[in-house]
Symmetry: C2
Subunit: 302 residues, 2 copies
């Protein structure tokens, strides 16, 4: 059943290590099917639920990954996106045969539109990009892979948005009996998970934070993710927008790795808090690589 999920790509860069003053092993999900870790989640989800149709709201990697998983399994897929979404993102979902439902977010919320669509087709499964048991279990396959790294890292750094990837990695590592530290890397502009850890309960952003790491523009972590994160995370490093961009540039110039801004968060965490990682063997998970060429061009020359 994991036939379409590719193993993570392990990359060492002695030049990146020299620049960071730090031994890093990169686990890159940029070469995963559809270009991000999200396919691990959607592939597991569409294979676990019996529903012939799946509906989700997503303008990013989850929508593409869900469309592709449904295409491969012959399920019908509808992705709700704001009508202001970039054309390339709409095309990316349509490319995999999914129906794109464009909404005016000033007249209806994504959640309300998803609910409407489900009333039209009660046989459909409503998929959350992170707050779903099947999503967490799908992402756990990455944790199990990281538990087989040789040598084992002392600490794994994982980007945090809704917490689906981090809770999956923690789950997979635990299942494999690996008890290295897991640290989250979150945009400082969207630090609801860091504030949640400090408060001991889920804290919400008032609106979607406009960080350049668009994969982490979530209002809060999910209900299912929270107990796993609060028990399993050793901490969260808050990464500034400038550090995200600097990490993206470092990966380009020193390691020849193309990432999207969200994918640069884990390396950004090493820039934000180097003392935390000094002298330890660090594995940085790069969550995805899909980024608009104009934005990427501006970031690498900026």
């Amino acid at each position: 059943m994991s036939g379409y999920v590719r193993p993570t790509t392990v990359i060492h860069s002695s030049r990146l290590n020299a620049l960071l003053g730090q031994e890093v092993v990169i686990a890159s999900e940029t070469f995963q099917e559809t270009g991000s870790f999200k396919f691990r989640a959607t592939w597991n989800l569409v294979n676990q639920v019996p529903h012939p149709a799946v509906i989700a709201a997503s303008s990013g990697n989850f929508g593409q990954a869900l469309a592709r998983a449904c295409q491969l399994t012959g399920k019908s897929c509808t992705v709700v996106m704001p009508e202001t979404s970039a054309k390339v993102k709409i095309e990316a979902v349509r490319r995999y045969g999914a129906r794109v439902d464009l909404i005016n977010t000033e007249t209806i919320s994504r959640a309300d539109r998803v609910a409407e669509l489900q009333q039209e087709d009660p046989s459909a499964y409503i998929a959350s990009a992170y707050d779903d048991e099947h999503v967490i279990r799908g992402n756990a396959t990455l944790g199990r892979e990281l538990a087989r790294l040789d040598p084992l890292p002392d600490v794994v750094v994982v980007p945090i948005g809704g917490g689906g990837l981090a809770s999956g990695v923690i789950t997979g590592l635990n299942e494999a009996g690996a008890n290295m530290e897991v640290v989250g890397a979150e945009p400082a502009l969207a630090n609801d998970a860091a504030r949640s850890l400090r408060a001991g309960e889920i804290v919400r952003n008032l609106s979607e934070p406009q960080t350049i790491a668009d994969g982490a523009r979530t209002v809060s972590v999910g209900m299912l993710n929270w107990p796993i994160l609060s028990r399993g995370l050793a901490g969260i490093v808050e990464v500034s927008e400038e550090q995200i961009c600097q990490a993206l540039r470092l990966l380009f110039s020193a390691a020849n790795v193309k990432v999207e801004p969200t994918g640069a968060l884990s390396i950004g965490a090493l820039l934000a808090d180097p003392e935390r990682f000094r002298g330890r063997r660090v594995c940085c998970v790069l969550s995805g690589g899909n980024v608009d060429p104009d934005l990427y061009a501006r970031l690498i020359t900026g």
Copy 2:
């Protein structure tokens, strides 16, 4: 002895395959030590020759790879470069502890300056980037790796400049008993190897051809490479400058792979002559990823 040489990175991209209408497996040397296949050559070379010092002329990946191999083995290294070389390229060689010897190419040729330097230090080994037995044997390690791909490709496409990589890959495949076809990918602007194959003898360009694939700006293939290429190559596909750029963009947008223009030649060959590869399982070797951010930004947005 191969401790510092990393295995090639195997990448599948179903989206790239769909766009090319062709099943491709990518063997990327962009994550090799120093960012290109050249380190396979220089690592073998510095470990095979007893000389305490190595001298070479190179303004590109070979210079960096040689400097790094010498740094790791405690040998002294001098790289002759035109004083007009980009600062980043000079810095890249110095970063690995090598001496950079800047010359005015209007008053002395690179070869003459290398000869001068050898007279100053007769204990030094003069390394050619391609026309050297140790270089070919070092690059053969990639051929042996490709012979272990599962499933085996029907055809391997390899960029051609001086012919060091192609002759190495042919040698390694032969040693491993793998007899798939090997096809060269050469810039049409610098098609001396294609013309050589047609003529049955080495044909030289009158001057260094100014293709964007700067790793293939060689006047001719080497004397040691030629007999291997003329017997071992099934053919050479000539790739236009526009196809090189289009291939680089495809790798960026469909496969999340960052390559330098020379590294895009093998995918460019599929664009140049799709009929040659139709229905066959193709392995494309991406030779390296080191490219100036300004140039890369222009290429992906162009």
